[in-house]
Assembly symmetry: C2
Homo-oligomer: 723 residues x 2
Amino acid sequence: MLFFLVLSFWVPAVLTSGQVWPLNSTPRKTVTLGNRGHVFQEEGVWNYTTMLLMEDEGVLILGAREAIFALDLNNITHKKAMDKWVVTSEMQRNCADKGKTPTECHNYIRILHKMSNDTMFVCGTNAFNPTCDIMSYKDGKLTLEGKQQDGKGKCPFDPFQRCASEFVDGKLYSATSLNFLGSEPVVMRSLNDTIRTEFLTSWLNEPNFIGMKHVAEGDDNPEGDDDKIYLFFNERAVEYDAYSKMEVSRVARVCKGDVGGQRTLQKKWTSFLKTHLDCPVLQTRLPLLIQDVFLFCPDTWTNCMFYGVFTPQGEMPEYSAVCAYSIQDIRHVFSKGQFKSLNSNTLFRKWVTYSGPVPDPRPGACINSKTREKGISNSLDLPDKTLQFIRDNQLMDQAVKPSEQPLLVKKGAVFTRIVVASTTALDGSSHQVMFIGTASGSVLKAVNYDGKMVIIEEVQLFKQSEPVKILRLSVTLGQLYAGSEEATVQMPLSTCDHYASCMDCVLARDPYCGWDLSAERCIAINNIHPDTHSEVVQSLRDGNATRCPAVESTMIIKTFYPGNEVRLLCQPGSNLARVQWSVNNHTIQNSNKYNIHHNNLLILNASDSDAGFYTCTSVESSNGKDYVIRNATYELRLGDFMEHPLVQPQIQDQQKSLLALKILVIIPTLILLALVVWNFYKGHFAVQRCLEKAEESPQSVCLSGATANCSRKINRNNNQQNS
Amino acid sequence: MLFFLVLSFWVPAVLTSGQVWPLNSTPRKTVTLGNRGHVFQEEGVWNYTTMLLMEDEGVLILGAREAIFALDLNNITHKKAMDKWVVTSEMQRNCADKGKTPTECHNYIRILHKMSNDTMFVCGTNAFNPTCDIMSYKDGKLTLEGKQQDGKGKCPFDPFQRCASEFVDGKLYSATSLNFLGSEPVVMRSLNDTIRTEFLTSWLNEPNFIGMKHVAEGDDNPEGDDDKIYLFFNERAVEYDAYSKMEVSRVARVCKGDVGGQRTLQKKWTSFLKTHLDCPVLQTRLPLLIQDVFLFCPDTWTNCMFYGVFTPQGEMPEYSAVCAYSIQDIRHVFSKGQFKSLNSNTLFRKWVTYSGPVPDPRPGACINSKTREKGISNSLDLPDKTLQFIRDNQLMDQAVKPSEQPLLVKKGAVFTRIVVASTTALDGSSHQVMFIGTASGSVLKAVNYDGKMVIIEEVQLFKQSEPVKILRLSVTLGQLYAGSEEATVQMPLSTCDHYASCMDCVLARDPYCGWDLSAERCIAINNIHPDTHSEVVQSLRDGNATRCPAVESTMIIKTFYPGNEVRLLCQPGSNLARVQWSVNNHTIQNSNKYNIHHNNLLILNASDSDAGFYTCTSVESSNGKDYVIRNATYELRLGDFMEHPLVQPQIQDQQKSLLALKILVIIPTLILLALVVWNFYKGHFAVQRCLEKAEESPQSVCLSGATANCSRKINRNNNQQNS
């Protein structure tokens, strides 16, 4: 019948169920930063969104709104130095006069690059008047040199418009907007040999710049190829004729040695090529848009990978994805792929695959050994034919596809930033660990094992749910730095000691951590002495925890009083575990009687029959095997009312009354007894009878005390009679 | 600071917040069918998805899998008649041999049309061998006449492929698939003058047929125009050149009098025109797809409106919309609009606006007075030029837009079906009430007041969350009939007596209901006697409930015992109300102490200080005015332990002990007293002293009883001495 229903109404079945997302992942743990990391926040300073790691100096240079900090890389709460770069009130007035808000009319530090060991190149929006300066960090002091220079084309006017830049060989490569309105995009090289893009929609069409990366492809290149600067951005698509505005992700690149053309493309890039960067997620009908990019190079540049985070365009982004691209695939498209060209007439314009002859040297190619052989030593020597072609056709026909399917697809998340760290596991294998920032202020730690994505944990970095705006990685220190509008956070790449049990440690599949069987704790793999390897359990691909010793949960005794509700807590410690409650070994389901909410059990209107043993077990599946953990065991006992603090005084009162009464019983009884004894002693009781008896038979024997008393009386009477 | 954050990270701000959906609506009430309606389910029968209302006969003809029922329209649980149409085991075997599943190899009734007063035209899929028959309903009996005829092109082969049909003037108009594979779509007229579409992708391109409606435009038409058959469907778009497969909603139409061309388009439609039916929802970047259509004609055909329900294509439909189109707008596009034509060369194909001369008579137009004047009395007379043009260009350039913005946009809902009923309010105004079926088995009742959508209620029709597959309306009986895979449900269009209070009745803004101030109940407007109008409150546009008398909620006394949890219930009766809990007039927030979940309050680890007065107030805003309703008032009293059934026996035991002790005190005390008295009486106590006193002064006066006793003793002693 189920099959029947699925068949007969495919729309919600396919589209609303989570099961069609094979790569849809849930973080195994959801935790807050707590004592795992450090938070830096300066009173009155916001927008901690620009960072520069200076590992030799041990400082993190942090650019914020009107302030630059030098923080201790080991503990960012230690502020080593600070400099302010404030806009004057006159500049603020000018800015406001142009229709900008007071919030926008500040100086937002947007560009920070290292120039030499102790000098940096820094730019700020400067109340919609972008300005750059040189800054030094010497003798624990951060100093802006005040050699201010025009920042147009280097840094955006608008503090909230995205930009990208790189600093290579003393030159700044930047992608931003050239004008106040933010409507004139440019990709340029400055500080020397200034060169830029043509202002044509075929070059850049309403772009949103995401990231720029320098790849030293010129190093030991057998073809004598040049270094490249790669640019990642989204722009309005021209190649599709869509129902409404459609955007597309792009990767573009220029050659480091490009100096522009002689007559054509004078002072303009002769090597600007771009293509569609595709991150195909299942039946997505619109291309996803890139939000951040990280360049991961394990050793030589030939093995470099670009990791990008993507979100759907338009409407509500209901999921996010990570795609990774190899530098070789990108190079292949640019150096061997076909071009797109515009076919237009009076009725329409359409970008189609260019099928005509491609000039030689190939348009957009860098100067290499072959072109040098032809006597072309730099771009000034390029023939006009090549230059004219590249001026009109920068777009490649073929898209760059990810090396594999998207590495990660997550429903209900908006990814904003990514960094990737590599680590060596216990068995010597190497793993790339992704740290992904989200719009809700958390960082996901994820690894792809044989095509299957594992999200080890989601750490909520900020108290408010504010987007992660920057992520930086220190591989040497094993630390992650994240910035948002409100704060900067430092977090270690791993905190193994937070895994409480062997099962927890092994099922986490965290490549940084393993369970030390002898020490009985979760330890960092890189701290293990080679001799103790056999004592440590780590199972990354399988998550096999069978070597873990069994653990018993302790019994918690909880008393209750009938008539109200009783709540029993259960924290399975893993979002992947299915929690099951049982009472006296009978499974509990949600009902009028029981309410299971956030894994906790609420017993409604508890009665004395609810006393018993309650257990919360969680079952975590790992690679097809179920691991059962008993999380909590409760003995629910009917409360002893007599011991209740509210009953106690009353009981005590009653007991006092009882005591008083008992005393009251004892005292008169004792008095009574005493009186009776006295009476007997005095012989008052027996007088008449004893006298009568004595009269009848004076020799009668009195054995008891009373009779002795009596006999004494008789004697006395006899004495009286005798006297 | 908030503004700052919003500005600085627009993506999630715009895309994840619900506030950018101004038409996003929540149903005021969410209820189950309960005793509001009737459910019909026949053991062993599924797929109640075809319905025909025969109001003259008072029966609902219901087509299901291998069965047809005649149910009482007033109460569908009364089955008046039934006939079976079962496939033979041989047919089933044949069907299975062709690779179909046992579920598919049944006879699913898909077509039911009225031919005359007591005869019907019925078709079933018949194990992938579509077959039609004539059926009669006479003398309370439902009989298939067994005159089976080929159903190809009338009814689909595949029971789960959608189709559309209409029965006009003894002819069947159908849109379905002609072949076993479901890959050859056709729109045809049969039973007489058979005529159909060309099998070309420009005519129908992988269509999914949704609905077909006959509009009698020929009635009293000043232009002598013909009746039209309108067809609604989704198909693969040709006019867009998208990133991936893209679908588009279409409205197409043919003329009733079309008999095909003479040489060109022989036995093919000469009047088949189609265009994009657009339902634009905010920044939607892909056209929405139609799921159902309802033809609403208040009086003459010129005022007819088509109501369509739409869902987004691809990925997860996170919302649904309703758009309404006037017949005049659709007519205008078809009769005056420009055509699209295909511009193709070796490199590409592109559909562009046709700018050349349009032949006369206009291609696709029905035969009307003007064409008749030209001597063209039917489509056979049309010139080849006109026919050749329409064979290649059925697609119009201009899309049909809804009369206003989408009438309703609802997040988190998948709409499947719609019917629209008109009703007259207390003030004489007319309102169109939409009943919208959803994929989760509920019906939404919604009205648009001055461009603002109000969802009066959502009624869950089926126990399982299964999609509503058919909705039918009986205006005369005021009943709604809905069918799903598992059951058929009947529900009245309104149940005013379910509104409990005046506030509830008026704030519901249900055009069918008003609050009778004198009778103090919510009554149906159409039952009101004109004289009592002034006594009834109804405020549809404003939802103004100020005329409602104030209502006090009764106090509920609840006792609790400290140490556990206490749950206090609150049912505001409206999803639009914001619930607020307070204790002793202090507002309660969610905290470690209080947990507000589904409007109910859970007091965690209650102590004696939690005793007090708890109130649950709900504030419902209506047209800018807040209406505060006190839903529940609790006096939470510390339970008297002494009266607790578990304490009572112990207390009673103690009391018994006390009583026993008291008795024990009283008895010896009494005995003691008696003994003392006796002793006194006997004069044992006073003997010595009295004797001594008597010796000192024998005349001493003994006034009290004790002294009297004493004096008697003295006398006795004296007597003894004297004797």
